[in-house]
Subunit: 232 residues, 2 copies
DNA sequence: GTGTACCTGACGTCAGGTCTG
DNA sequence: GCAGACCTGACGTCAGGTACA
């Protein structure tokens, strides 16, 4: 059951990062005012897709290529189940996938742009070795142990007692590789999240403005209406 | 000069948790419909306060007690250099402080609630130390290197050569305490952030709904208006 | 200015999920 | 279903900032 470390053992010193990197930054500009219907639908679709949490790749596909690959799911869905402060109902509905940059200025113009990793190749190197042994053995530090009470953390040293150094080395290298990749993934993930949040903030601002404008307009119209009514 | 990092591993059983825990969950309900002006002002004030990044405590104070202690400070702030993919107009305005839960149902009723920590008191342990290097990259140190160019990082081993074990122990305990606190703080911070994001998502949803409703209303009104106009 | 406490962005790791072959 | 790759939430740590004494 779930021994944690124990990396896979199909020797595969492959280092390719296999990035999907499709390279067409879409640029949809739903112009000013309020082509609401369109925008809304788009929104809905996106949200819907995101209902199943993970993998922005899918979304990317859908939006870039065909859409609605099996759609038909638009019940209440997200709709913010949390009705009051104490809730904690935590169904998470991201609203806008992190890949999608939805920049917009105050006038209401919105620009949806998709970005992709591009793997900035920060510095390539990333040396890092954990728990490199003081005395030659190679354990690896418990780092965090997080919350999870029952965690044990087998150290790799255990291996070396019964296996040839070769095997150990192999395993450790594999582990290293895995960590490296995960490290990078984490970085990317953080980036996306940040973008997502910024996007949200942006969206709120825009919507507020729109709202204000609409209210204003409504007020004016009503006034006009009333006065006319008076005259009549 | 900052206090140095003094890594070490003397597990000491100290775990006093000094918590501030102020205990008044405020509950402001700006009732339904759209008292826009009020809401907006509130919004603005909050945002303004948040322009200087940190410390939600202040905000707490302001909202709970008096307000506007010295408003007028919205500079550009850091602006976070990420401009990779493209434009990124990135004006970041947090909109809502994380402490504040601003839940609202679709009708427009909003509930502002402030929450605070409650501190779950986790477990201790944790050894490990990082080292940080090239440009923001953070590595694990193999326990004793401490090379790190610009970084100070005195290790305890060095110390122990010249100090009494007492001092070392003292220092280590201090470190441990610090770490413990920070650990907890981090947890709390994450919690707030999460809340904040959820709040944002919520707000977006609400605003969208409002928007839609307004548009609808506007349309109706216009129609009515036109028909009346026809008649006249 | 100094020192201390606290807050938060970013990091790397783990755990556990999804997707795909 | 299984195995591997990937994604992401949560963790603890560090670094650097703000607030306050």
């Amino acid at each position: 059951m779930e021994e944690n470390e124990r990396t896979d053992n199909s020797g595969n010193p492959q280092q390719s990062i296999v990035h999907v990197t499709l390279n067409h930054p879409i640029q949809v500009v739903t112009a000013g005012g309020l082509s609401e219907s369109e925008e809304l639908e788009e929104e809905r679709r996106r949200r819907e897709v995101l209902a199943r949490r993970p993998s922005y790749r899918k979304i990317l596909h859908e939006i870039a290529g065909d859409d609605q690959l099996k759609g038909d799911h638009h019940d209440e869905d997200s709709n913010s189940g949390l009705s009051d402060t104490g809730s904690e109902t935590n169904l998470q509905q991201p609203v806008i996938p992190a890949h999608i940059q939805l920049v917009s200025d105050t006038s209401g113009v919105q620009t949806i742009t998709m970005t992709n990793s591009t793997s900035p190749t920060p510095n390539g190197s990333t040396i890092v070795q954990y728990a490199q042994s003081p005395e030659g053995q190679q354990y690896f530090i418990p780092v965090s142990v997080a919350g999870t009470p029952g965690q044990t953390y087998q150290l790799t040293t255990a291996n070396s007692l019964q296996s040839s150094p070769n095997v150990t080395e192999e395993a450790s290298r594999k582990r290293e590789l895995r960590l490296l990749k995960n490290r990078e993934a984490a970085r990317e993930c953080r980036r996306k999240k940040k973008e997502y949040v910024k996007c949200l903030e942006n969206r709120v601002a825009v919507l507020e403005n729109q709202n204000k404008a609409l209210i204003e307009e409504l007020k004016n119209l009503k006034e006009l209406y009333c006065s006319k009514d008076d005259v009549a």
